[in-house]
């Protein structure tokens, strides 16, 4: 563990890098406006292109990686970066599951290429968009599209103090119930992925009366088959059910299984 209870002269060297992604997770870190100064006091941010012109190729005590692996170059680069990092933390649905761009994993990538580009042979991208964990060992993951600022803060605090980060792997339902949100599925019959999705967003959409999109990916023991079957009894067609699960975490195995079964 990095943190000790006693003041340390050495600030951990932190990097934030990006692969195929929208950059929203990095922005979420910068959105921690009230804590940014304290964070920079505790951690030495040596690489974070969106935040500072200081650049570094490593070594890193902690390296945050946003984005999925989508090109041959990226597949090579992540391996190099892994060697430079003591601890590698993936952040966001792209890095942890492949992102929404992983929809191409279920389709014909080459056909898309040919349809869009006049000279498709110039485009070097992989047929699949895959999470970082399929390429290198990952020490920790922060889920979400984008990640939750407070979960990032909890992770940084845990590293700083030396405690287990409290990132519960429970359904969004647990938070809805604590907040006092009535259940959208039960009260309206509208689909909601909350029961199979990890909490982290603060149950944002259900708090505004809209079913969960599954941004934080499948929770542990996600029984998507059961929920998909229930959506069917609520009147959703197979195609509609598949679309429910084919969103930001489409490539996460528990969601992908439903999409492939219902297509």
């Amino acid at each position: 563990m990095l943190g000790t209870r006693h003041a340390s002269a050495h600030r951990p060297r932190v990097g934030v890098v990006k692969f195929a992604s929208c950059d929203g997770c990095q922005l979420t870190i910068l959105d921690l406006e009230d804590q940014l100064l304290a964070i920079t006091e505790k951690f030495d941010i040596v690489e974070f292109a969106e935040a500072t012109s200081n650049r570094s190729q490593g070594p890193f005590d902690v390296l945050f990686v946003e984005g999925s692996i989508s090109t041959p170059e990226q597949a090579h680069e992540i391996v190099q970066l892994r060697r430079q990092a003591t601890m590698l933390v993936t952040i966001g649905a792209c890095a942890t599951a492949g992102g929404i761009q992983a929809l191409r994993n279920l389709a014909d990538h080459d056909a898309f290429n040919r349809a869009v580009y006049p000279q498709p042979q110039l485009i070097k991208s992989l047929a699949t968009s895959t999470p970082v964990s399929e390429h290198v060992a990952v020490d920790a993951e922060l889920y979400g599209c984008p990640i939750s600022g407070s979960q990032m803060l909890e992770l940084l605090t845990a590293l700083s103090i030396g405690r287990r980060p409290q990132l519960p792997d429970e359904a969004v339902c647990a938070l809805c119930k604590r907040l006092g949100n009535p259940c959208i599925l039960v009260a309206t019959g509208e689909p909601c992925l909350g029961p199979v999705t990890r909490t982290g967003c603060g149950a944002l959409c259900p708090s505004f009366g809209r079913g969960c999109y599954g941004c934080f990916g499948p929770k542990e023991a996600a029984n998507s088959a059961s929920l998909a079957a229930w959506f069917g009894t609520l009147g959703q067609s197979d195609e509609q059910v598949a679309r429910e699960f084919a969103k930001f975490n489409v490539n996460a195995p528990a969601f992908r299984a439903v999409v492939e079964a219902k297509r």
Partner: protein, 166 residues
């Protein structure tokens, strides 16, 4: 075995066999037959009773002392995998083809053993079905207990790998 050999009449060995848990339930004639084949042997600490991988002609019962079974792990040297305590068998491999020692047996302290010549014992069992009928079950039990213990060791219940990063 080279070291100090005690020439004893069969009677002394028969009596000793009456006392070990492996053989005390055998009937008189079985014990007498074993005593005829076997002999009492005393070895000093450090003696090697059999070597891993080599042909093993001797099955022994520990009467006093302790024998360590070790296997060679090239990166780690000799690793002790189990110690044979009083009453238990060293060298059951002498009874099972290909009659090769699966580990190296080293006496940790001065040790007294009842040793049985493998080929002779196998021949006796082949011809004396009564002896076979009594001896094989206890041999099977001994190997079964060894296996149970090995499985528990294999579970590595005290492993320190059970440390969470978080």
């Amino acid at each position: 075995m080279q070291n100090e050999t005690v020439n004893t009449p069969d009677a002394e060995l028969r009596d000793r066999l009456a006392g070990t848990w492996l053989t005390h339930e055998l009937d008189q004639s079985a014990r007498a037959e074993l005593a005829r084949i076997g002999r009492l042997v005393r070895v000093p600490a450090g003696s090697i009773l059999m070597r891993e991988g080599e042909v093993n002609d001797v099955m022994a019962i520990v009467l006093e002392g302790r024998v360590s079974l070790r296997m060679r792990v090239p990166e780690r040297g000799q690793v002790s995998i189990v110690t044979i305590e009083v009453g238990d068998v060293v060298g059951w491999s002498a009874m099972v083809p290909p009659y090769r020692a699966t580990s190296t047996a080293v006496a940790l302290v001065d040790t007294e053993l009842a040793q049985f010549d493998g080929p002779q014992l196998r021949k006796a069992i082949a011809t004396n079905t009564d002896l076979a009928g009594q001896l094989y079950p206890v041999l099977l039990q001994t190997v079964a207990r060894r296996l149970e213990g090995t499985r528990l060791q294999l579970l590595d219940l005290f492993s320190q790998r059970w440390v969470e990063p978080w």
